[in-house]
Every structure is written in structure tokens, then in C-alpha cells.
Amino acid sequence: MLIINMPDETSHSTDANSNSTEPAKSWEQRNPEIEREITIDEYQPTGTLTLTLLYFAIVVLMWIFMYFVEFAGNAPSIID
């Protein structure tokens, strides 16, 4: 059981007598900016995957460029 800021939450809850560890309403339901609540089962981080792969591609290409063009082409180098 992980309790983060539970006292704060219960004190804020409308039902002051509630002793339950879960707030009566989830945070998402109380937040006007949130359109819908997404649970772990329905959440697919496809966007994150896209970004991560994009980042990896950029890093690998830049690495090859830096290593074989900028560095290896920058003679004289320490050869021994």
C-alpha cells in the first residue's frame, strides 16, 4: 500500500468521516481539465515509443557522424 499525502486528501474530501484510504472520487474525476480517465489496462504509450525511437535514430546517426567524420578525420591523433 502506497500512501502519498493521504492526510491531505482525506482532510480535503467532502466526506470528513471517510476513513477509506482511497479518495471517494479519483483525482481525475475532480479535475476539470481532464476529459477522461485512462487506466493502466487501456493505456498504450505509442507516442512515447515513437519519440524514443526517433531520439535513438538521431543519436545513433549523430554518433556515427561525430566518431567517423569529426573525430577520425581530425588527424594527427595519438597512435600509440
Binding site: N31, P32, E33, F65, V69, E70, G73
Partner: protein
């Protein structure tokens, strides 16, 4: 923001939306542009322009800088040679040392040398201060003139203003000033 429950009218909402738009364009757009330009230039220069030899622009003709061994007042009867030019760094001090030598023929005619002032690389001007003038007369001639300045730590002299009062070719005495742009001054650590 989540904590903002104000019933702000649509005007202020719109203006704040516009602000965010501007911030995103300036604050994120320009950085992305800068990085893309860098990437483009790097690849362009390294991979596509390989054979092009970059023509170095001719360095602008600089004022010849004076270093140890050079001669001042070259066209006058008494040229002065810089024998020593260095900065000595010690525990708490940053000391500029200058040594000058004058030709032996000074024995016969009086010569006056005065260090007027000095401009440091930081822009500061140091006035000559005490004992910066030498009256070299017949008989008691020090062959060598030595002067020292304590400088602000880390500062290096850029230009020296030095004047000499001497007999000219036509037997009149006259004061001539020379501006001496100093070149590389060796800086050495000195352990006492």
C-alpha cells in the same frame, strides 16, 4: 493551470493563449532552428565540401608589436634597446619588469628618458608614478635602466608611452615621445 478556477472572460483567455503561442514559437522554435542549421552546416561542410580549401582571409596588417631585443627611437642619435620585458608572478604580486639599455656614446651628451604612462590590456591607464625618469649625464651613466611596476593581478601591459629628451642632429635638444605597442610579454612564476 489546475489551481486556476477563475471565471476569466474569453478575452484574457485568448490573450493568454496567444502568449503561449508566441512563447512556444520563440522559445522552442528558434532553438530547433539553430540546431537544425548547425546540423546542416556540419554535414554540408564535412561531407560535401571536402575538397574546398578554405581561403584564409589575409590578416589585417597589424601594428608591429615590440618585444625583447627591439630598439626604440631608432632614428635618433640615442636609440634605446629593450633588454628585458617580463612579468613576474609571485605569491601575492604581479610585477612588470622593463629593462632598457642606451648606447655608450651617451657619455658625451646628456640624455633624459621618461616613462610617461602605460595602458593595460584591461583598458586601465597607469601613470608613471615616482622615479620613472632618468637623467643620464656625463660621467655617472648607468648603462642600463630598470623599472618595475606592480600591476593589478592578471593584467598585462598593452602599450607603453615613453619619451626621450635628447640632442637632435642639428644640435637642438628636443623631446620626442614614442608609443610602444608591446607584443608577447613572457609571464613567469617566480618563487622567492
Amino acid at each position: 493551470m489546475t489551481e486556476n478556477h477563475s471565471n476569466s472572460d474569453s478575452d484574457s483567455r485568448n490573450s493568454s493563449k496567444r502568449l503561449v503561442k508566441i512563447l512556444v514559437i520563440v522559445g522552442i522554435g528558434i532553438p530547433v532552428l539553430v540546431e537544425l542549421m548547425t546540423l546542416f552546416n556540419l554535414i554540408n561542410v564535412q561531407i560535401f565540401d571536402d575538397e574546398e580549401v578554405q581561403e584564409q582571409p589575409e590578416p589585417v596588417a597589424e601594428v608591429r608589436q615590440v618585444t625583447e631585443g627591439d630598439t626604440l627611437f631608432r632614428d635618433y642619435r640615442f636609440p634605446v634597446t629593450i633588454e628585458l620585458l617580463r612579468i613576474n608572478v609571485s605569491a601575492q604580486e604581479w610585477r612588470f619588469e622593463l629593462g632598457l639599455s642606451v648606447p655608450d656614446s651617451v657619455d658625451r651628451e646628456p640624455l633624459e628618458i621618461e616613462l610617461d604612462s602605460m595602458q593595460l590590456n584591461s583598458g586601465k591607464i597607469l601613470a608613471a608614478g615616482r622615479n620613472r625618469s632618468w637623467n643620464i649625464q656625463e660621467g655617472h651613466t648607468p648603462p642600463r635602466i630598470q623599472a618595475e611596476w606592480e600591476l593589478p593581478n592578471g593584467d598585462i601591459p598593452g602599450t607603453l608611452y615613453i619619451s626621450s629628451f635628447q640632442q637632435m642632429q642639428n644640435d637642438t635638444a628636443s623631446r620626442v615621445q614614442q608609443e610602444v605597442p608591446l607584443g608577447n610579454i613572457p609571464v613567469r612564476y617566480n618563487r622567492e
